[in-house]
């Protein structure tokens, strides 16, 4: 920003060629900027590098008083062990099932509600939307206990049902809001034509709205993947059996069992992070657009 500012000042002062060289555009300034960014980048990346480095060290080799970033010897042992010692693949599968069922529920029901709030006129629409928005501010903790009691009464404890069934009921205020904001940007004319032809709102939603909505649906998928994959509190409460744990709860149980086997724990932490990081890289655009669009972010 300073570059254009200074250019503006100099242009105002006099139309000289020197206006081209703002202070920062000099090579030294540019190098300095890259150095600052790179330094912070290294600080931020260091924990990951340390995680990877530890996971490739031989058992016991992680206890070194010197900062050894390159493992010597370099071994894959932890990655072999992790699948042998704990049901890591099963936990991954459990997480995946919950993530997929949650995403499906959200994509379908949140977009339906979002479409209704954005486009259809029905009684109490604004009141209902207000109620929906107000739940955004609600700390989820308040409903934790009664929810548990209800699910326990239904006999759903120690199944994955409490973790994904609620997503099929509107998918949460955040996603409804996200969808509504997106649908508001779709030109009305597209629907008008279909309406004149006598198409019902359901047809319009499936034929016209959904095909245009993949950016917002992608946002839902990526956000949900990120949040549900990492969710700890809910699976902790509902899943106690070793065989239906998710990765988050499973990794935590490993902390209890292999408290000092850091290579193993780092391998687990890394493996658990891969899918989210991949999904983030692939869908970065939609993720960030979602954050910016709604003004909301994860964590």
């Amino acid at each position: 920003m300073s570059l254009t500012n200074q250019m503006a000042v100099r242009n105002a002062v006099g139309p000289f060629r020197q206006a081209q060289e703002g202070r920062w555009s000099r090579p030294a300034g540019l190098v300095l900027r890259y150095l600052v960014l790179a330094a912070i980048g290294v600080v931020l990346a260091m924990p990951y590098i340390w995680m990877l480095s530890t996971s490739f060290k031989a058992a016991g080799k992680e206890f070194s008083l010197r900062p050894e970033l390159i493992p010597n010897p370099f071994v894959w042992q932890s990655y072999a062990d992790i699948f042998r010692l704990v049901p890591f693949l099963l936990w991954t599968w459990n997480s995946l099932v919950i993530v997929i069922l949650t995403i499906l529920g959200r994509v379908f029901t949140a977009s339906l509600a979002g479409y209704a709030f954005a486009r259809l006129r029905f009684p109490y629409r604004n009141v209902l939307f207000g109620v929906c928005l107000s739940t955004l501010m609600l700390p989820g903790i308040v409903t934790l206990i009664p929810e548990f009691i209800v699910f326990r009464y239904l006999g759903w404890v120690n199944t994955n049902l409490p973790l994904w069934v609620p997503a099929w009921f509107g998918g949460g205020a955040f996603f409804i809001f996200l969808c509504r904001q997106f649908f508001l940007t779709i030109p009305y004319e597209l629907e008008e034509a279909a309406k004149v032809d006598g198409a019902s709102p359901l047809t319009i939603y499936f034929r016209i709205i959904l095909p245009l909505s993949w950016p917002v649906l992608a946002s839902i998928v990526i956000f949900s993947f990120n949040w549900v994959w990492g969710d700890f509190l809910h699976p902790l409460i509902y899943l106690s059996d070793r065989n239906n744990m998710t990765l988050a709860v499973g990794l935590n149980s490993m902390v209890g069992m292999y408290a000092t086997a850091w290579n193993l724990l780092m391998a687990g932490a890394f493996l658990m992070s891969i899918p989210v990081i991949v999904v983030f890289f692939v869908g970065q655009k939609y993720f960030i657009r979602g954050v910016v669009f709604s003004g909301l972010a994860g964590r």
């Binding site: 920003m1 990951y48 206990i145 019902s200």
Partner: protein, 315 residues
């Protein structure tokens, strides 16, 4: 609908068709929001009322609930753990949230440059925010290991013997704060979006008035991004008042209850001791605190948040 059209001949045809379309739209509208409404009743309103009722009950889940009046509230006032948990949670929140705001704003400004490769830096800076919490925490417990952790090894290289971090009641909360600051990306990205929304014209006008960098930041940037600031502040506070996973996985509330936070205490009460009534009381305490803080922020924000009239806010 077609049938009613045939019967009601008095109304002009177009209008009839119109009103039946409106009715159809209303029915579909209600139908489309029905899953959400049902969900709201089942997973929000219902549980909230239920949990309010639980405040006045003793319920060990296996035996039937028993009405105890204000007993839970008396326990709440007399419970020394509640004081500890509120103190710890407030300590964490009031240090972490402002620090996070400052750091994420600073880094967002750094990322708001038009230079080659900036996209790569943005991705890198955001990466910690998408790392699953348990993986993130386990990694940091290892980094903060007093003897073999990366942080203390590096400190030793420059001649400082680092504290025992999560093992020292004096340092456990600062350690958790340090660890969570690594995930500044989610608030930085909101600032970044807000910064990009500041019209260049304003800076140019300020420059013409002779404003330097600092003046521009103070008089242009800050007012223009204040809605994003408020947003990050509110969201940050709601989130950090509910800190749980880090304390559960990394410290189990220790050492000497120095990381016993409200939600951790609630969890222990509800799911280890099955005191559902008292746990609900704690939940409502938390809810009211968060509500009061949020309300205060919105009230206070009238003094410092600037909304462009006519334009859209950036939050």
């Amino acid at each position: 609908m077609a049938r009613s059209e045939r019967i009601d001949l008095a109304v002009p045809r177009m209008q009839k068709r119109h009103s039946s379309l409106m009715r159809q739209e209303a029915i579909y509208g209600l139908l489309f929001v029905a899953p959400w409404m049902l969900g709201f009743l089942l997973w929000v309103a219902g549980p909230m009322l239920f949990s309010l009722a639980l405040v006045f009950m003793e319920w060990k889940i296996l035996s039937p609930p028993r009405f105890v009046g204000l007993e839970n509230l008396r326990t709440l006032i007399e419970d020394p753990f509640v004081t500890t948990a509120i103190y710890n949670t407030a300590y964490y929140t009031f240090i972490y949230v402002p620090l996070r705001l400052v750091i994420s704003l600073g880094l967002a400004m750094l990322l708001n440059q038009q230079i080659r490769g900036i996209g790569g830096f943005r991705t890198l800076f955001y990466l910690p925010s998408v790392t699953p919490s348990v993986a993130y925490i386990v990694l940091w417990v290892w980094i903060l290991n007093p003897d073999y952790g990366l942080l203390n090894i590096l400190l030793r290289q420059i001649g400082i013997e680092g504290p025992r971090w999560l093992g020292d009641p004096e340092w456990s909360k600062p350690a958790l704060i340090l660890m969570d600051l690594w995930g500044f990306g989610s608030s930085a990205i909101i600032f970044l979006a807000a910064l990009q929304g500041v019209p260049e014209v304003l800076y140019e006008a300020a420059a013409l008035d002779g404003a330097g960098r600092w003046k521009k930041f103070l008089n242009v940037t800050l007012p223009m991004i204040s809605p994003a600031m408020l947003f990050n502040f509110v969201i940050g506070m709601i989130g950090s008042f509910q800190i749980f996973t880090a304390a559960y996985v990394a410290t189990s509330g220790g050492p000497v209850r120095s990381t016993l936070f409200l939600v951790l205490y609630l969890y222990t009460t509800g799911f280890h001791f099955f005191e559902m009534g008292y746990a609900s009381t704690l939940a409502w305490l938390l809810f009211l605190i968060v509500l009061a803080l949020t309300g205060l922020q919105f009230l206070g924000s009238r003094r410092w948040v600037y909304y462009e009239t006519g334009g859209e806010g950036s939050g």
